[in-house]
Subunit: 347 residues, 2 copies
Amino acid sequence: MEDLQSSADPITELIVAFNELNSSHIEELYEEPSPLEFMRFVAKNTPFVVRGAAAGWRATQTWNAKSLEEQLGKEPVNVAVTPIGNADAPTHHPEYGALVFAKPWEEDQPFDEFLNYVIQQEKDNLPLESTSEVRYAQTQNDNLRNEYAALFRDASPEIPFARIALQREPEAINLWIGNSRSTTALHKDNYENIYVQIAGRKHFVLLPPLCQPCVNEQDLQPAQYHRLDSSSSPSSFLSPKEKENQGGLSLDVETASDTVPFAIWEPDRPLENATQYSKLAEPMRVTLEPGDMLYLPCMWYHKVSQSCSPEGICVAVNYWYDMEFTGPLYPMSSFIRSVYHQDNPKK
Amino acid sequence: MEDLQSSADPITELIVAFNELNSSHIEELYEEPSPLEFMRFVAKNTPFVVRGAAAGWRATQTWNAKSLEEQLGKEPVNVAVTPIGNADAPTHHPEYGALVFAKPWEEDQPFDEFLNYVIQQEKDNLPLESTSEVRYAQTQNDNLRNEYAALFRDASPEIPFARIALQREPEAINLWIGNSRSTTALHKDNYENIYVQIAGRKHFVLLPPLCQPCVNEQDLQPAQYHRLDSSSSPSSFLSPKEKENQGGLSLDVETASDTVPFAIWEPDRPLENATQYSKLAEPMRVTLEPGDMLYLPCMWYHKVSQSCSPEGICVAVNYWYDMEFTGPLYPMSSFIRSVYHQDNPKK
Ligand SMILES: O=C(O)CCC(=O)C(=O)O
Ligand SMILES: O=C(O)CCC(=O)C(=O)O
């Protein structure tokens, strides 16, 4: 590390200085913060976890495969389908010869069918190759107040300390149901996020906004999975080079669409796709147990993987609050990105 | 401005983006904020003024030339003496042939003598040339709890909303007594500052921390004024080239000392000493009337000038709270400075 300490490179200095002033161990609370206590964390854009904050929620106490099935039955729900649990993830496309930004195939499935698939797959625990597809209910469109409205009464309608501190209602409340095959790739959102674990566990790997130079953001061509037997698949219009057939799903590159800037480095494979700054990152790791509540500050990078409850499901609920765009954080974060890309043009 | 909008220069983009998202008009409150309301301003590093917040303080209601003199009499107080009110200011040194960082001559004076000088000078209102020196009580060393302890009971012992929000006591409480001849040059401090006007008016010109590229920070050689008749003056050791005799004060360059990084641009003379970014600055201006309270967030640049009460004095009290060094603000501000100086080495 001696070369980094003495280096005059501004980006190195930035990340080293941040690491010196900030712990990479998350602060653990055992009671919900007051609005003022919460605002202190917002002010320093620093995560915390409240162990057991939602242990008393009806959701945490009663949601399981049986109760969820009883409540939702055959209601159609939107399901993200991918071959290996890689919804919205940078994915190598062999024929296209490049990483693409892989969007899941989305379809409505009767809830009971979806849930049983998720559980059966977790139970079977077959090798990746012999599994045809991974299913994840992960529409980030306020689904708990819409598709899953029947369940909403079992969760908190909002997070009081966040509403009072931020002076706003949640912009979206999302339900996430999947199994250990799904991973959410490293990305960031312009929201203050209160993430509540209900069943199973979630493993978060977090990086602060100023680690932008570590994550190797590239402009990826978007691509979408399509079911080969689906009549709505546009596969037939594509050349073989732009298709990728895997487990009954074809990954079709959207060659006419704009590229998507996306991180291709991730802290769990630190030597792959690294930039010269990746080694400076000191990721913060936290596992949420059922009833735990995470404050994930706006613009923090997060990669999320999951473990199932004994029944074979992983269920979480999160609350997105619009972030504050006044003040220095947003323009300064864009500035870091501009400086990095000026010196390191995207390939 | 069209060339700026389309520019891809990261620093230009940073300042333009900040200006688009932030008002340059200060927010005016008419009651003290709650700790939570205050913390929202701290979180966005944004100033506000509370009109009349200290109108009821005994200091605001009773301090005047007579009452101050009654309380302090001939007590010796530390006085900053300069030829033109330029304590801690970049100052052209004709013989040295450069701007230097001019520190005031400091001496103890009986309070009544100091105060009468300040008042008489304001009353006389003589042209600059015929005035021999300007005096300003401005020791920023917690003087209200030390030198001026007799007055402390008339001011608030601390600012409750700030103590509760920031979870700390004031690091320093400072008293400022001077007349309209003194100006505090544009600079920034690593403190959260609650500034309270008692008598007369203060005129603040404010720039956010990310305007660092606008202020033309240069490494200035420190210099100190010395009274020519003072036995403690080291003037005799200096060559004529390193002295500057003005109104009985000699400005002696400390050639052996380290340079001081200091802003040499200022928003009230926008065409002088400008950088290519100075024209992007949108200074926030606010005048404090007696009883007004300003929140000056940490790391904001401020230039402060003053007008006197009818009696011919200007009196203020301010509370410095240590800033929070965790989170992104401090390292990101240093980063902007590094990037700017990488492209624009100091002369
Ligand atoms: O739970 C997940 O899989 C991802 C969560 C996430 O990305 C979010 O809450 O923003
Ligand atoms: O009142 C003045 O002259 C300067 C005040 C100042 O610089 C401060 O409060 O930090």
